[in-house]
Amino acid sequence: MLETNFSALDWAIVGAYLVGTVIIGLWVNRYIKGMGEFLVAGRSLKTRLGIATMIGSELGLVTAMFAAQKGFSDGFAAFHIGLMAGIATIIVGLTGFIVVPLRRMGVMTIPEYYQKRFGSRNLRILGGFILAVAGILNMGLFLKAGAIFVSGITGINEDAVKWVMTAMILLVLIYTCLGGMISVIITDYVQFVVLSIGLLVTCVIAVKKIGWSTLVKGVDAIYSDQGFNPLIAEGIGGSYVVWMFFLGVISCAVWQTAVMRACAAESVEVVKKMYIWSSLGFMIRFLIPQFIGICALVYFFDLGSAQPFFDEQGQVSNDSNVTMKAMPVFLGQLLPVGLLGIVAAGMIAAFMSTHDTYLLCWASVLTEDVFNPLKSFKMSNRQRIRMTRVFLILIAAFLVMWGLWYPLGQDLWDYMAVSGSIYFTGAFAIMMMGLYWNKASVVGAYSALIIGTFSVLGLGPVQEYFSLKEFFNRNGIAAHHIGLTVSCLAIVGMIIMSVSFPNKETSSEKI
């Protein structure tokens, strides 16, 4: 077992925090009057709360884990991910790219936009199905990341942690089922405040303990130039940086959880302000954990080879489960009693907050965009809320199974990027062309969605299943090359098919 400062006081802080969060969820249940309150909080979100909830849902434990892992694996060069995310979000905020027209249309989900724009209910159903599948796969390893964090920071056995995490999922289900988006917003706010303060203090303590010049020298000794310059082809490489910029645009403008926040905003002006200010959050959600990951890298490197993160030659471990554990173990050894409990509570609350946002998001997409359209929109409010709650439970059960079964085999961030791209490569083409090109047609939209699903080839186990792994390795084709290529093909495919098969004046599928 790895050494940690985690004590009974820290456990008490974590327990009190979690109980308080659930009580909030139960308390706001009184404000739920219909689907509008349940999904988008009655569209009553104002700027400051919007910023807090937007950052709160994105700055989660899982984000901290994969970002810290990137810092541990790539050194300072990993900062380019946060930089690209910040630049992309501020561009979206200033221009209103995609999110402002979406808010003006008054939709609640992206597949609903498909139907409004292209007049096809079937397109909405297919888009909703692909979105939900990609989204659920994308969050498939959240539980595993959470278990590794709790095990690393508290020092308890990883098998025992799985039961703790399953219990936490149940808590999330209770307050999300009851409180919907209102409880999600309030718990996101609380988590934003606690976790932000905890992480800022952690950065200060880490720099004081290790020292900036030691950090720089340590990264230089381990990774040389590649640890600082992301454009070196032998390290990260320019194409990966481009992929990160594209993901930055996707994360804030096309990813359903961020779009839900834009749709919940009071007005178009609030949407723009939310994005401009949240750009800092989108950057910081990578920078702070990556910096802590870098501190962990140098801290453990200086300790020598008597710990699991380096091999006997002093090389960083290739096992992604091991490198993911570096940040929580480092926090467990760095922070004093009390502060450790607050940071752990903030992280675990962030874990729950991310789960509630994502669970609600995918469950509502399945209800609103797959099953309600299949029943010709004849489901009552009560039936829709009940079905959303059933999906919340089913998805949570799936997550427990998937988290235990799936072999990661790549950095968590890369797994999430690829699984998400099954949806967003096609969706980006449809949204961009649909919002800014009058001739975009329903056939073009179908083709973009179908082409987008080929992004699944970026996942290691899928490559192995189709015997493509060796081919990709031999030709130096990485997951981000596949993602970028599929994204371009989806746009090209949509243009060609829209020109070849334009929309007819009257369509039997028209709303």
Binding site: Y31, K33, G36, L45, K46, R48, F76, F79, L200
Partner: protein, 61 residues
């Protein structure tokens, strides 16, 4: 390499300082926004919210 070290160092420092200010501003302002949101939700009548929420009924017609 020194250029990159300085760039990342300045980027980290500047964003941490701005973020610290943002956290204080949003923490205080967010509380007041929560109060307004809850007040607005409790003032909405059931009939009003029914009309607003079910945009799908408009899609059908």
């Amino acid at each position: 390499m020194n250029g990159w070290i300085n760039f990342w160092g300045v980027l980290l420092l500047v964003t941490l300082v701005i973020y610290a200010v943002l956290v204080i501003y949003v923490s205080i302002g967010g509380l007041s926004d929560i109060r307004k949101m809850l007040r607005s939700l409790s003032n909405k009548s059931r009939d009003g919210s029914e009309i607003e929420e079910n945009s799908d009924s408009e899609l059908k017609s």
